[in-house]
């Protein structure tokens, strides 16, 4: 073979950080071809998709707004991913968090209690954790694969949302639309900048990144999670509890996804509908990988992923393309990232082996 991959003795640090950049460049390049193949002007497509969303400060605020649930979910998931705990059901945990927080809002939003917002955030976190606890329990108690169980719970969560907004929680004055009543102003997260939709959840997101960084890099528990992921046997010999690793990994993801869900309904939505999340829980997995499971990286990759969402909306509006083009770009990005990662562990060698 003219091209071979030779294992490196040690993973390349440089390539570890270069590979996401390479992946983004490949995605952009592929995007140009894609626009061309769709009969659009590639430069115009690039401009509309990647530049137009950022043209003014409102655009930037929308970018940060959409990046918020992504960074929250991603930082939570990365705790588990580091330990090879594959929670792929963040989308469901996000929905249940939204339901739990939303229930507090619907029930208490006119009481005038100063504890309303904290209670909502707490309920969101607990809801997400509850939903993540199911696969954690089934994994630790019955050895059931958390990938499949957490994913199945996404579908169940979606059906649960659908049932509540079509049934018991439907706004009686809502002309029969499947949605709850609008929350009272008291149950809405405070807006950070007048004239935009950017709200306090962005600060929660930044806080989560900081806590995530401290946990992963400065705590013994975080260290144990890392060892469990990189060297299972070493972790066992050291006596680190494998069950605890599963629980922490799952609950961290559920907690943050739940808060992300609450932030959506108490932020840009202001009520619960069937469309709480355009797949944030799934996109967050890409964010986590692209950010190298590192909170700083996750911050930047959540901005990029948010841009892909906004670009999709722009492409729909100005180029007559379905907004699902965002998801094509998201998937491509992950493909290119995984492909580029070969250089982290292997050295390309050209020519025949001697």
């Amino acid at each position: 073979m003219w091209l071979r991959f030779e294992p490196r003795t040690e993973p390349s640090r440089t390539m570890r950080y270069l590979s996401p950049v390479l992946a983004v460049l490949l995605m952009l390049l592929f995007g140009l071809f894609l626009f061309k193949a769709l009969g659009k002007n590639p430069m115009e497509g690039f401009q509309v998709f990647f530049m137009k969303p950022l043209k003014d400060s409102y655009g930037i605020s929308e970018l940060l707004l959409k990046a918020t649930p992504l960074m929250m979910c991603a930082v939570g998931l990365s705790v588990g991913f580091r330990a090879n705990i594959w929670n792929i059901g963040a989308e469901g945990q996000l929905l249940i968090g939204a339901l739990a927080g939303g229930w507090v809002a619907l029930r208490f939003d006119t009481t005038g209690s100063p504890l309303l917002l904290p209670a909502m955030v707490l309920a969101g976190a607990l809801g997400g954790m509850l939903w993540a606890a199911i696969p954690a329990f089934l994994r630790t108690r019955f050895n059931a694969n958390e990938i499949l169980t957490s994913l199945m719970l996404v579908y169940i969560a979606q059906l649960m949302v659908s049932w509540l907004v079509h049934g018991p929680w439907k706004d009686p004055d809502g002309f029969n639309f499947p949605q709850t009543k609008l929350f009272d102003q008291a149950a809405m997260l405070p807006i950070l900048k007048e004239g935009t939709r950017l709200n306090a959840s962005f600060l929660i997101g930044l806080g989560a990144l900081a806590v995530g960084w401290l946990f992963m890099n400065r705590s013994f528990l975080g260290y144990q999670m890392k060892v469990a992921g990189q060297a299972e046997n070493a972790s066992r010999y050291a006596g680190f509890s494998a069950k605890r690793t599963v629980w922490i990994g799952m609950l961290a993801g559920g907690c943050m996804a739940g808060i992300a869900g609450l932030s959506e309904i108490a932020g840009p939505m202001g009520q619960i509908t069937e469309h709480i999340s355009p797949g944030y829980g799934f996109a967050a997995m890409i964010v986590a990988f692209l950010g190298r499971l590192n909170p700083v990286g996750i911050f930047f990759s959540s901005l990029l992923m948010s841009l892909l969402y906004l670009g999709g909306e722009q492409a729909q509006q100005y180029m007559n393309l379905p907004s699902s083009i965002s998801k094509v770009f998201q998937g491509l990005l992950l493909f290119f990232l995984l492909g580029s990662d070969v250089f982290v562990y292997f050295r390309p060698r050209f020519g025949k082996k001697k």
Binding site: Y155, I156, F282
Partner: protein, 310 residues
């Protein structure tokens, strides 16, 4: 039970189980070679929309199914290049395939959303179809239902009665030994992965061309994932895949019959729709709680990378 109700329940169960059998039989062979491909959901989605579009344009379901199969193979080729040649993390690569496939199918499918295909005419097997009760349910089915039965036999025969099948299993159990005695491990894994993709593509095609027959974004609705669970449930044995698929098929149509039964149940539709997903979880728990069953039956190298020259 009167004949018509029994027959129509059996008929609908078989129809609902068929895409699961086809997809799970593909994944079974892939996993037997040691490759865990979590992308079935994405491959089915792309297979479904490609088959739908081609059937719509050619007015020929056969071309549609072929195109769905081809699309499935292309998708799984992407996965194979990432996971086998570039040695990416299998779980991540499979997830990528699912995310990409579901997104791509939504993108391709947008213009086809309000189109309905003509229903495909079932194939009646003379003689057998006249058996009371069973005949109309079993032998007046869509061609792909018979295909799923034939594939079941072929896969079982291939895995357990042919030399190539034996080698494939050896590759899955111990790639290093298989490599040492001269078997091309990566070639087996590539082919097994492509076969899995082809079958998932056909499974998707069955959904959009025969089952509904129309295209709706997200119509695969977890069937790819359920197929993965089925392989575990079946402890990697072909015949049990079929049994499991029909059990799930039954769970999926339960809602239809409960709602149409006139029993005036006050169960919300969403609860009934969640039965297959809840059942998947229950089944996984039941089969996985016995660690020994899983260890004994799963291919020993499942999900582990293989470096030819390491």
């Amino acid at each position: 039970m009167e004949q018509s109700l029994f027959t129509s329940i059996l008929f609908a169960t078989i129809v609902a189980g068929t895409p699961l059998i086809i997809t799970a039989l593909g994944e079974l062979v892939t996993e037997k070679s040691g490759v865990l491909n979590l992308g079935a959901e994405g491959v089915m989605s792309v297979g479904a929309i490609v088959a739908f579009a081609v059937t719509h344009h050619t007015q020929n379901a056969f071309y549609g199914v072929l195109a769905g199969m081809g699309a499935g193979m292309l998708m799984s080729l992407l996965f194979a290049i990432l996971a086998l040649t570039l040695m990416a993390n299998l779980v991540a690569a499979g997830l990528a395939l699912s995310i990409f496939g579901v997104g791509l199918s939504a993108f391709i499918g947008k213009p086809y959303e309000s189109i309905a295909l003509a229903s495909q005419v079932p194939v009646r097997i003379p003689g057998l179809a006249s058996i009371p009760y069973l005949g109309p349910a079993l032998f007046e089915q869509q061609a792909l239902v018979y295909f799923s039965w034939i594939m079941l036999g072929l896969v079982a025969w291939f895995l357990y009665r042919t030399r190539t099948g034996l080698t494939l299993r050896a590759v899955g159990e111990s790639p290093v030994s298989a490599h040492d005695i001269g078997h091309p491990v990566l070639r087996y894994r590539y082919l097994a992965t492509l076969y899995g993709g082809a079958m998932a593509g056909i499974g998707g095609a069955f959904m959009s061309v025969f089952y509904t027959p129309m295209w709706v974004e997200g119509m695969i609705a977890g069937r790819g994932w359920i197929s993965l669970a089925l392989v575990v449930f079946a402890t990697w044995r072909p015949l049990r895949v079929m049994v499991g698929a029909y059990l799930f098929g039954g769970a999926m149509i339960a809602q239809m019959f409960l709602q149409g039964s006139g029993l005036q149940l006050s169960i919300p539709a969403q609860f009934l729709s969640s039965i297959p997903y809840a059942a998947t979880i229950v089944v996984l728990v039941l089969i996985s709680r016995n660690l020994k069953t899983i260890r004994l039956n799963s291919p020993a190298s499942l999900g582990q990378p293989f470096l030819p020259d390491a």
